[in-house]
Symmetry: C2
Subunit: 431 residues, 2 copies
């Protein structure tokens, strides 16, 4: 029988022990930091009504083209969620008595039927933390602090770039770009890092911006100096909305205890239309990976629009890309955990039931224990233990066992010693 | 604007803080027990190629009717997984160098577009643990032990019913039912508990079984006594395959340390065709919930067939139903955890930045801390803290703070005391 068809769907991945354990470790770090800041978990389904995903206040036309569609047996149009923000909006809309502020985190798979490139998958995991119902910049600062905490705990050096959409709008106005051109200009600006100044100017001119305006815009983007210095220089150039954006950014930056890895970048735009204030993107320091590993911002209008209510739902959040973080940690980790199993029992010429009692005793002490159930010889068993990355083999023979002793083999050093079961337990608990 | 369309997809659910925390707790219990027995995590995608799900060795025609189908932009036929066993088979088939035995667990959402009844969902979570590559009944016993450990840790009283397909086939033969009728007879037998003896006899006769054979079958099913007594009685009636089944069951039962909650039930069939030996189902003791909360068995042929190899892949596993377990625990839990947040800081006539320093200090000590960012008054803040289920409020005023003190309010007792920050930290760490 040929099984040429047994393949994964394109753009999806399996994670066996080593990969899955790394993901679990990252997830548990994210979860613990989110909870440390007072956020509670929310779980929403993977399948949503297509109506919800296609709402004009949701992800927009582009993302809808990449949305997987399906129907249920009742003919209802459904889709696989493409992010966790739209399901949160739907949750808020369907739970009108929710207490505000609503601080929630969600970790879950999302799906986009897009083109495949390195590091881009059709099924991937987003890890979002958002607070709804707070206007104060303290909430925006909290998002930056959460990112600082997460990457400190993951031991990754990062730069957190911050900007503010109001300030960006002020810059556009100061450069003489009309407000109806703001959105398309921002889309082009978003490519500044990638394409460089000349190419961006050219693209802007192609979109009908005057050469003078494009030049002025580039000048404002290229201001040098520290965060406050740049803000001060811009303050002199900008009016109205721009000044408000500067004040917000200042408030946010002042709330931060650790400012060293936070960089104000006036060109940071974030493609999405729904941001209304702060925007942030997190990049690895000294890395070949140039894409953001976390990103977010303030979106004060979206939920209210979505819910269809006059009520205001100011909101700010940040999303961590599990897949890129685990790619990075997978590349840099010195020693990769291949299993959580601490001990593997090898029965030597005794009944399996006898050896199995030792396994039970170790497990009762909380030691993750595997045992040979195939009656293999010692050599093959030790090969299996080594290949599985289990740190200790426990050799159990009849005579030794009658004296309540076993032989503990440290798989790394190869050292074997005959110890009492109690001694073995203590050693394994420490391991 | 009307939002009549903002609904969940049918048969799906949201889990806000309380529900999500309960699910996390169950998941973490399952995970820790699985790891205690030496199983490693596997993650496979939610989306699989439809070919894989539709393989004739996979879930079968019935389940395929309930499979959600979709296509990617390349026109490839895909489906949402309906279980975690088929993806595991696909994983084994696409990883031919996998070391055996392969002990894996997987927790994940599965999807079935079936009729909706109480406790049945279209998106639900399965928690599977399987060992591939072990023929010995020690592996079957391990599945029962894992179930015993899981439900002991979840504090649920259960009965684990066990049977063996070979024994069941022997019983059918002894009753005079032809082997070509075995499968359909087993499907009817599976309803014995629900329909009662008379109805089952009638259904069997409807399927062409003689009244005498149906009667004999019922007699063999109704044997009284303890597990060994029933096995002994059956041993006298059965030959060949039946005797083999009895020997296997005996071996499995003998390997168990705790036998009190394990009941041999010769009528236990499990609907699925692929089981070849042991079968088990776990039921709640003294509960109105009559459906199984975990179930599994041995399937020695399925993976080999699936992989399309002559090589043998003996396998046994058990699957825990997270949704029914959390329904049960949700109903019986005395006190439900509404949040993991331990403390909520209420600034009293001081700058938010000042109060925020206290939050940072508590978080540095690992205490999950929320803080008012809306400048609400004390009364409204305390209402929010109470409604959120946060156990302690930390009132921070200017004068107190200068003396490095805060007021700690126990939300349950209403007791307030002025303590130093260090004292508060110690109290909150213990809470």
């Amino acid at each position: 029988m040929s099984n040429a068809k047994l393949e994964r769907a394109r753009g999806t991945r399996d994670f066996a022990a080593e990969g899955a354990l790394l993901r679990q470790q990252i997830v548990s770090t994210l979860r613990s930091v989110f909870e440390l800041y007072g956020y509670n978990p929310l779980e929403t389904p993977i399948v949503e009504r297509f109506d919800t995903l296609a709402s004009k206040y949701a992800g927009g036309e582009e993302i809808l083209k990449e949305t997987f569609r399906l129907t249920d047996q009742g003919g209802r149009e459904l889709g696989l969620r493409y992010d966790l923000t739209v399901p949160m909006c739907r949750f808020i809309a369907t739970n009108p008595n929710l207490k505000m502020p609503f601080k929630r985190y969600q970790l879950g798979e999302v799906f986009r039927d897009g083109p495949l490139k390195t590091g881009r998958y059709r099924e991937f995991m987003q890890c979002d933390v958002d607070v709804v119902g707070v206007k104060s910049m303290a909430a925006d600062a909290e998002m930056v602090e959460i990112a600082q905490d997460v990457f400190r705990k993951l031991q990754l050096s990062v730069i957190i770039k911050v900007n503010n959409r109001k300030l960006l709008n002020g810059i556009l106005a100061a450069a003489g770009i009309k407000s109806e051109k703001a959105e398309t200009t921002i889309l082009t600006l978003d490519k500044l890092e990638k394409l460089g100044q000349a190419a961006v100017e050219k693209e802007l001119e192609g979109k009908g911006t005057s050469a003078a305006a494009a030049k002025k815009l580039m000048l404002l983007m290229a201001l040098k100096g520290g965060n406050s210095e740049k803000l001060q220089k811009l303050g002199k150039e900008l009016g109205g909305e721009g000044k408000e954006g500067i004040a917000e950014l200042r408030q946010m930056l002042e709330s931060l205890e650790e400012k060293g890895n936070v960089e104000f970048d006036p060109s940071l735009a974030r493609g999405l239309a729904y941001y209304t204030g702060s925007v942030f993107e997190v990049f690895l320091k000294n890395s070949e990976i140039k894409s953001a590993i976390a990103a977010g911002g303030r979106y004060d209008k979206m939920i209210g629009n979505f819910v269809g209510s006059e009520r205001e739902y100011p909101a700010v959040g940040i999303s961590f890309g599990l897949d890129i973080i685990d790619d990075v940690l997978g590349m840099t980790a010195k020693e990769k955990k291949k299993t959580t199993t601490a001990a593997y029992i090898i029965p030597i010429k005794i009944a399996a039931a006898e050896a199995s009692k030792v396994a039970k005793q170790l497990r009762q002490k909380g030691i993750s224990t595997d045992i040979d159930m195939n009656g293999r010889d010692v050599k093959r068993n030790l090969e299996y233990v080594a290949a599985s990355g289990i740190p200790y083999a426990v050799l159990v023979g009849g005579k030794e066992l009658r004296e309540n002793r076993i032989t503990l083999r440290n798989m790394k050093t190869g050292k074997e010693e005959s110890v009492t079961l109690a001694e073995a337990t203590a050693a394994l608990q420490k391991a």
